[in-house]
Amino acid sequence: MTLTRRLLSIAAVALGAASLVAGSALAQQPPVRIGSTLALTGPLAATALTHKLVGEIYVEQLNARGGLLGRKVEWIVKDDQSKLELARTLYEQLITSDKVDLLMGPYATGAILSAMGVAQRYNKVLIHHTFGIPSLAKYDMQFPAWSLGPDPANTVPNTLFDALAKSAKPPKTIAIVTSKFPSVHFISVGGREVAKKRGLQEVLYLEWDFGNRDFGPIAARVKDAHPDFVWIGDIGLEGNMLLDAMKKIDYTPPIHFHVYPAPGPMTKAADANHALALTIFEEHAPFTNSAVAADFVKTFNERAAKANLPDTHVEVQAAASYTAWQMLEAGVRGAGSFDDKAIAAWLHKNKVNTITGNLRFDGPSNYGDDLMKIKQVQDGRWVVVYPPQFAPLNVKLQVQ
C-alpha cells in the first residue's frame, strides 16, 4: 500500500467516523414539539379531521426533509371536543405541562380566539388556519393563514359583486338570508351594505339562528320575493337544507351565493348547480401548477380516501391548514431559531410563499391581502370562476 493510498484510507475512515458522530448528535437532539388542539370530536369534528390529516401529512414530509433546523418534529394534538373552554385549558397544558416548543392553532374562530388568549399570556407565536373575524385578532404574535384580508365584510362582497357584474346577466335585485353564526353573519351584514352602495335593490333580508330546523318558511319567503340573486349566509349544511326546502316548493333561485357551505355535500345537492362560494384554493390549475401543491393534492387524495373522509378533495380547509404549516416552517427557518419573538419578527417583515399564494402579515391584525376568489359548482365540481386568471381554461361564471 502506497503512502498516498494509506493517507486516503485514513482520511476516509476519519470522515466516516466524523459523519457518524455528527449524525448521532443530530439524532440525539430532542425533537421539536409542536402543540395544538383540534375538534376531533363534537360538532366541528367533521372538518377538524381534515386539519388533522393535513397536519400529519405535513409533519411526515417535514421530517422526511430533515425536520426543522436539524431536529425532528413531533406534533402533539389534543382533542378540544369542539369546546372553546376546553381549547383554552388544553393550550395552557401544552405550554406549561407538555412544554411544547411551538404552537399551531386549533380549528374554527371560537377555539382560535381561546387559544390566542393563552398564547398571548405566554408570549407564544400562534399561527392559525381558520380564523374568520380579523378585527377580533388583537394579539401581535398571531398570524392567519385564512387570507380574508383585514376587512372581509367589505372586500369579499365586492369581489363577489364584481364577478356578478361581469356575468352574462348581472342581477338587479337581491335577497339576503343569513345564519346568525358569528363568522358568517358579519360578512352577510357587510354584503348588505355593499349591495346597497352598488345599487342592488334589496327585496328581502332575513336572519335565522344557527341550528334552525325548519327552512320551509324561509324558502317560501325567498320565492315570494322573486330576487335575481340570493345571498345565503350559511355554514355547514344550512345551505343544503335551504335548497332542499326551496325544491319542495318548486323554486330554484336564479343564482345563489353561499358564505361557508359544506363543500362536498353542496356539489352533490340536486339544485346546487351554479352555486357560488368563496375559496382560496381548488384542485385545478393554476393552483396545482406548483410541484408542492400538486404533490400535496395527490398525497391528500390518497390519504383522505384511506381515512374514509367524506370529501377527499383539497379545497379551502385542507389548503388553509397546509398553508399554516408552511408559515410555521418558513418562520422557523427564516428566524433560524425556535424563539417565538424571533419567528414573529421574521413573519412581520417577510412574505411567505404558500400553496394559497404569497402571504404578508404587515396589515391590520397581521392580515395581508384578501386572496378570496369566487368558485362555482359546475357539472358536480367546484371550479374558480373569478378572477378569471384563476379559472381553468374555458371556464366562466354561469348564470341561469
Partner: protein
C-alpha cells in the same frame, strides 16, 4: 314589517303543521314515560337519532326502502326500551335521577353515533324526497306528509288503546296509584316494561321520519330537546293526543313567525307559549 302574501302564509302554515307533527311524534313517547312511569327519559332523543341513523344506514348502504325499516327498527327498539326500563327499575332510579341517568345514556348514544357515522352531516337521499302533491299553489312534500299521517294515526291509536282497552285502563290506574293498582292484580313491573318498550318503538318511528325529512348530525340530538319538552308540557304528561296538538300549535306559530317577522324570533315562540300557559292556565300545564 309587511304583511305576507296569502300564498306565503298558507305555505308557512303547512310547513308548521308538518314539523308540528314531528314534534308531536317525538313528544308522544317522552310524554307517556313521563306521565305514566314518572321518568323523564332524555334517552328518548338518543333513541330517535339512533333509529334515524340506522334507517339511513339501511337505506343508503343496504338499499332497503326507508319505509320498510318501519318493520325492523321499532321491534328492536322495543327490546332496547324494555331493557333500559328493567335496569332503571332494578336500581330503583327516582324520577329526578332518571333525568341524569338517561342524559348520560343520551351522551353515550351520541358518542356511538359519532364513532360509527362520524360528526359529519348525513342526508338520506331517497325517491321520496322528490315526490310532492300540489293543491292550488300549495305544495305537500311526501316525506313530511307521511310523517304527519303516521303521527296522527299513532296518536289516535294510542289514545283509543288507553281509553277503551283493559291494558290502557290498567296503565292509567298504575300511573294514578301503583300499589292500589297492584292490589287489583295489575302486574306493575310487566306493564312498565311493556310501556317503556312501546315508547322506545315510538322513538324508532319518529327517528325514521326524522331521517326522511331532516339532515342528521350527532350534535343535533340536543337541538330538539327544548321544543319537544315544550310540546309535551303543553300537551299534558301521559296524554296521547296532547303532544301532537301542542306540537302543531308550536310548529304553526314558529312557521308563521318566520313568514311574518324575522326567522330568528321563531325559537322563542315555543317557550313563550309555555310561559304564557304557565301564567294563565297553570292547572293545565304538565297535567
Amino acid at each position: 314589517m309587511s304583511w305576507p302574501s296569502l300564498n306565503l302564509l298558507g305555505q308557512a302554515i303547512l310547513s308548521g303543521i308538518f314539523i308540528g307533527g314531528l314534534y308531536g311524534l317525538i313528544g308522544l313517547g317522552l310524554g307517556l314515560t313521563w306521565g305514566l312511569l314518572r321518568q323523564i327519559n332524555l334517552a328518548h332523543f338518543g333513541f330517535v337519532f339512533l333509529a334515524a341513523y340506522l334507517s339511513y344506514q339501511m337505506a343508503t348502504e343496504w338499499g332497503i326502502d326507508p319505509l320498510a325499516t318501519l318493520l325492523v327498527l321499532p321491534p328492536l327498539f322495543f327490546l332496547a326500551g324494555a331493557g333500559m326500563q328493567w335496569l332503571l327499575a332494578r336500581f330503583e332510579i327516582t324520577p329526578f335521577n332518571s333525568l341524569l341517568v338517561t342524559f348520560g345514556i343520551t351522551v353515550v348514544i351520541e358518542s356511538i353515533i359519532q364513532g360509527i357515522w362520524t360528526a359529519d352531516f348525513r342526508r338520506l337521499e331517497t325517491h321520496y324526497n322528490d315526490q310532492k302533491f300540489t293543491i292550488g299553489n300549495f305544495y305537500l312534500p311526501v316525506p313530511e306528509l307521511l310523517t304527519l299521517l303516521l303521527s296522527v294515526a299513532i296518536a289516535v291509536l294510542i289514545w283509543a288503546a288507553m281509553r277503551y282497552t283493559d291494558l290502557g285502563k290498567a296503565l292509567r290506574a298504575m300511573a294514578q296509584d301503583g300499589p292500589i293498582a297492584a292490589a287489583f292484580g295489575i302486574n306493575e313491573k310487566g306493564m312498565s316494561l311493556m310501556l317503556a318498550g312501546v315508547c322506545a318503538a315510538l322513538a324508532a318511528v319518529a327517528g325514521i321520519c326524522l331521517a326522511l325529512t331532516f339532515t342528521l348530525a350527532p350534535s343535533q340530538i340536543f337541538a330538539w330537546v327544548g321544543v319537544v319538552f315544550a310540546a309535551v308540557m303543553l300537551g299534558g304528561l301521559g296524554s296521547a293526543l296532547g303532544p301532537l296538538v301542542a306540537g302543531v300549535i308550536i310548529g304553526v306559530s314558529e312557521a308563521v313567525t318566520m313568514a311574518v317577522t324575522a326567522p330568528s324570533w321563531a325559537p322563542i315562540v315555543s317557550f313563550s307559549l309555555l310561559i304564557a300557559m304557565l301564567l294563565l292556565r297553570p292547572d293545565k300545564v304538565g297535567r
